[in-house]
Amino acid sequence: MDGNVIELVNLTKKYGSFTAVDQLNLEIRKGEIFGLLGPNGAGKSTTILMLLGLTEPTSGSVTVCDLDPVTNPIEVKKKVGYLPEDVGFYYYLTGWENLMFTARLNSLSGKEAAEKIDFLLERVGLTDAAGKKTGQYSRGMLQRLGLAEVLIKNPEVIILDEPTLGIDPTGVAEFLQLIVRLSREDGLTVLFSSHDLHQVQKVCDRVGIFVAGRLLAEGNLQTLSRKLFTGSAYIIEAGVNSFSSKTTEGMEPAEWLAGILRKINGVESVKKNKNIFQIECSRDVTSEIARTIVESGAGLYYLNRKEFGLDEIYYRYFEGGTENGKSDHTEK
């Protein structure tokens, strides 16, 4: 329990027969920035709603700051600031008035609230727009105002649901820097959900990949890529034709070549698909593979090194279906 601000145990949420969140186990430690990464409809928002007690889990338990949001939502909401996806403000009120309303809902006195609001508006860079109606704010300004609003209650945890949606790239960069700075300066725990990998990569200490209601993997980015690809960070594809007829040690030439390749230090597995060998390696051994193949007497006509960056992770999980995740990686 110590050091964990958020603990989810076997959390499940069902809508009729549809399971939005399936047996989720997750721990978020104090002071870290955790990114919940997943495609649309993966159950990120549902999880967040359950954290705040805005919807009840079907089974499993949620603990936020040692409190149960199902039975004690008010105390949880005092400690947790939540910026909903696509946040809205009363368009006919100014930014200052909107924040004042929130501050008053948090039982602040007018004086405290006004000081706090001025401070926060400056921090998010909206001092000049304080007296403007929020109907005239741009998307990025609204998000920053939302962040200021979240901070009014002096939260221990802030939860941001898709905070960068609809902001232009420079705005996103600024916004993310702002989050990091706030987290570091105030020791805040931040949970933020996104479907954009690059943003998550930039700011998060740890990442959880969330697809179809299940947490496929969690960890920092290095461990994550190691986990997801069973230790192989590269895949090298080698196209081979015209196997040599000399020493195959009584085996079929292709089998024999695969055997040799497997012996190379760093190679983890070799698969053959027609004339293409798919070689998974933990380090870059392209040149050794090329030499080995050529020395074996076979004709090498194609060599391609695939590197697993985050994009690969992304596509492999979010677009190529989830079969990888299900079969190999969930339990790790």
Binding site: T55, Y90, T94, E97, S107, E149
Partner: protein, 352 residues
């Protein structure tokens, strides 16, 4: 920015207090003031809702419509009141109450107008109470603040009820004031009490429609759908319901020579059918209140009437007479509120 600085000045300087305080009312609800006071979150929401209502175009338009009808009906009442008073009337003939009920047929009386426009007022104040918050994306933001979820619904109901009450009392008292000034006969305490009770009943009546439309606003995502559903029900009861009851009663009307009892039973059945409509309950209640001579809301047999001395009922007796109507209206209001309360508490609040 300007607003903000003036607000700050307001708070810091207490010596020039009162006048500035009065003017600051126009700048918005009290919780904008930067003094040391802490408001209960419920009162904060109520303040904001009232401010929103009072500043909205919708409310201003409704206020103008209702004030105009009020003026119009008062004008006809004043023009015709001398015909309504018969020379031989006894002292307690409730001249003052006639201000609200007398008409020459060109314009309906104040009571009829209110029975017609009250639902519109209620529906238009409530139809977007919850769904517009959700569509604006403010609902999930507010609900993530440390407040109970029902605060939102209760505060909205309470705020609109406050607005309606203030408006009705103001209008009612204005009519009384103008009437007093022009006919020169002051109301008796009994008449005054009857008018106050009448205003309270009107507020309950509007509260029923308000709750109905809040229910629709919880149920339907689109404010337009909610508004239309409310208006459909209002029109149904205002126009079609009495026609349907007429059709039914024609079908089951006793034919030929039947006993008095049968006729009375039939007539009671017809009236009771009509009383499923809230507007019928309202008009029953207000007629009885404002015309103290009304002794019964149903048919009376000869035996019941025989030997009675025609005379006004006391306020207590009039209230006894309309007690079922009153409880019916209040029950309808509560039922609508409970349904919307339950469905709102169970609703999952997604952002937009």
């Amino acid at each position: 920015m300007e607003n903000q600085t003036t607000r700050k000045n307001n708070s810091s300087d207490f010596s020039t207090g009162k006048i500035k305080h009065f003017f600051s009312l126009f700048k918005g609800p009290g919780f904008y003031r930067t003094d040391n006071r802490v408001y209960h979150p419920f009162s904060v929401i109520v303040q904001k809702e009232i401010a929103d209502y009072v500043r909205s175009w919708r409310f201003i338009i409704l206020l103008v419509i209702i004030s105009l009808t009020c003026l119009g009906s008062m004008y006809t009442a004043l023009a015709n009141i001398k015909d309504a008073i018969k020379p031989g009337d006894p002292k307690g003939s409730f001249v003052f109450l006639k201000l609200f009920t007398v008409t020459d047929g060109t314009l309906p009386s104040f009571v009829v107008f209110l029975g017609f426009l009250g639902p519109l007022l209620g529906i238009s104040l409530g139809f977007d109470a919850v769904n517009s918050e959700q569509n604006r994306g403010t609902l999930s933001r507010i609900l993530s603040q440390p407040i109970h979820r029902d605060y939102i619904l209760n505060a909205k109901f309470f705020a609109s009820l406050t607005v309606i009450s203030v408006m009705f009392f103001a209008l009612g008292f204005l009519v009384m004031g103008f009437g007093l000034a022009s006919i020169g006969i002051p109301p008796t305490p009994g008449e005054f009490l009857r008018i106050v009770v009448f205003i309270i009943i009107s507020i309950i009546y509007v509260a029923f429609w308000l709750n109905l439309s809040i229910l629709f606003s919880v149920r339907f995502r689109q404010p337009a759908t909610a508004a239309l559903s409310g208006i459909a029900i209002w029109l149904f009861f205002a126009v079609f319901y009495s026609m349907i009851v007429d059709l039914i009663s024609k079908g089951i009307a006793p034919a030929g020579l039947v006993s008095e009892n049968q006729i009375i039973n039939f007539e009671n059945l017809r009236l009771n059918l009509l009383r499923f409509s809230p507007s019928q309950l309202f008009s029953d209640a207000t007629t009885t209140l404002l015309m103290p001579n009304v002794r019964s809301l149903g048919p009376l047999s000869m035996a019941q009437v025989y030997g009675t001395i025609p005379g006004p009922l006391s306020l207590g007796q009039s209230l006894m007479l309309i007690w079922p109507q009153l409880t019916g209206l209040i029950a309808g209001t509560i039922i609508c509120f409970v349904i919307s309360y339950v469905s709102f508490m169970r609703k999952e609040i997604r952002s937009r």
